[in-house]
């Protein structure tokens, strides 16, 4: 665990949604969202496609502008932040990875550092450290994204998000496009990485298994509304009808597994 996170007021939420509404071309995507994400926790936003989970994520780094309410990062309204500073303060990893196809792995991972005017040597050393951290061998750094496997690309994506050592990570189904075995490897590695680094993570997924495995808490969104927030244990024992539906669907998967 990093001590930096503990030294500051550890009770203040690092990210906070207050009465957040978001409308897109007349459609209400998010309604009355109130949610606080605390230091060092992994809060999983769970929900089906169109539930507003990705929207909520993009409001944090201002890739979208909220219609009403406020989103606070480290106690400051995101609209008061310089947007570039805000985004460099927050690591961002998405499902399509968004690696730059014309850059090598090294330049992909080190891009933000070079924009922050790190020296070449420092940048290179940091990239090597990050690649090691996400379980990639150093010789991969001269390769291009199209020369990597899906799992390697996602690892590079995570390394890139961690490059400037941001206290906050936003992850939008970062493991969604992977085969089940690679996905479960990456989930396990990510969890141990998160424990080691103490990052505060807002993680979007539609996969309950992933949510239960990674989440300190799970927030369930449905049609733009927050239906439930609580720990994985609370989620499994909740009497909220929609949560029970999720658990039921999940349970039947477990049964299939049991019968095999």
């Amino acid at each position: 665990m990093t001590t930096a996170a503990q030294n500051q007021n550890s009770t203040d939420p690092l990210i906070e949604f207050r009465d957040v509404e978001y409308q897109s071309s007349g459609r209400e995507v998010l309604r009355g969202l109130n949610l606080a994400i605390h230091r060092g926790e992994v809060l999983v936003l769970l929900g089906r496609s169109g539930s507003g989970k990705t929207t909520a994520l993009k409001l944090v780094n201002r890739l979208l502008r909220l219609s009403r309410g406020e989103v606070r990062v480290e106690g400051r309204d995101v609209r008061e932040w310089d947007v570039i500073e805000l985004r460099r303060h927050i690591g961002y990893a998405i499902q399509e990875v968004g690696l730059f196809p014309h850059y090598t792995v090294e330049r992909n991972v080190g891009l933000v550092l070079s924009l922050e005017r790190w020296s070449k040597e420092k940048n290179r050393a940091r990239v090597q450290e990050l690649l090691h951290l996400v379980g990639l061998s150093p010789e991969i750094s001269s390769r291009y994204p199209h020369q990597l496997s899906g799992g390697q690309r996602q690892r590079v994506g995570v390394a890139r998000a961690l490059a400037a050592d941001p206290p906050i990570l936003l992850m939008d189904e970062p493991f969604g496009a992977l085969d089940p075995l690679t996905r479960s490897d990456l989930q396990r590695e990510f969890l141990s990485l998160q424990r080691k680094l103490g990052k505060t993570v807002l993680f979007v997924t539609h996969d309950l298994h992933e949510a239960l495995f990674l989440g300190t808490r799970i927030a369930l969104l449905e049609a733009g509304r927050l239906v439930f927030v609580g720990s994985p244990q609370e989620f499994l024992s909740s009497s909220e009808p929609l949560v029970m539906k999720y658990v039921e669907a999940f349970g039947s998967v477990e049964n299939v597994r049991g019968h095999k």
């Binding site: 961002y92 998405i94 399509e96 690696l99 196809p101 291009y144």
Partner: protein, 213 residues
């Protein structure tokens, strides 16, 4: 008089005219790049401007070249000397492929890549110069290639207003009803177009971004 005799006897003049031709095409292409690429970038940023800009470039393209040379004749400074006029006309014709391909190249960049770049905290100009333009380079270059090949052909017509270039031989040959003279103008122009096309095609291939599977 056969073709080879004509060419060997008029080597110097053909070389001069080729140089003039190349110069007109080169300068007009540079000017068109300086105007067309920024316009293409602009309309990728301001969708409301896309239709008027493309429509204007389209309309220019539909004006017959002889008529365009004629329209520009009364223009001050430019109309004073034929080569200036020819360069302006060639530039106007080159705009459409440049604007359109720049726009298509930039808007064709993978949305996920743009989203990730923004999310990482790239400024708008960093996004443009480090991500969008490099990834659009091959599509933009395809536009440059079209523009130059069209220009080399069109520049032959510039001789009609006395701007020189290889068109002069073509027009002279037409007046003299002498195929050898026409060919002495047409063949170097065709070779020039082929060479430009091959060279730019090779560059275009080299600049194509590798696709993520």
């Amino acid at each position: 008089m056969n073709f080879w005799n004509f060419v060997t006897q008029n080597r110097a003049e053909i070389a001069d005219l080729t140089w003039e031709h190349l110069w007109m095409v080169g300068i007009s292409t540079l000017l068109a790049l300086a105007v067309g690429i920024p316009l293409g970038i602009l309309i990728s940023r301001r969708p409301a401007l896309r239709k008027p800009v493309i429509a204007t470039a389209n309309i220019i393209q539909t004006i017959p070249s002889l008529a365009l040379f004629g329209f520009l004749l009364p223009a001050p400074w430019i109309g004073e000397r034929a080569p200036r006029l020819a360069i302006l006309a060639l530039m106007l014709y080159a705009l459409l492929p440049l604007i359109r391909n720049t726009y298509a190249g930039i808007t064709g960049v993978d949305r996920g890549v743009i989203m990730a770049a923004r999310g990482m905290g790239l400024t708008e100009s960093q996004l443009l110069f480090k991500v969008e333009l490099p990834l659009a380079a091959s599509v933009i270059l395809a536009g440059v290639r079209i523009a130059i090949v069209i220009s080399i052909g069109l520049a032959t017509i510039a001789a009609a207003i006395g701007a020189g270039g290889l068109g002069e031989l073509i027009f002279r040959g037409l007046a003299m009803v002498n195929n050898a003279v026409i060919l002495a103008g047409a063949i170097p122009a065709a070779l020039m177009a082929l060479a430009a096309d091959t060279l730019l095609g090779w560059l275009e291939k080299r600049l194509s971004p590798p696709r993520v599977a």
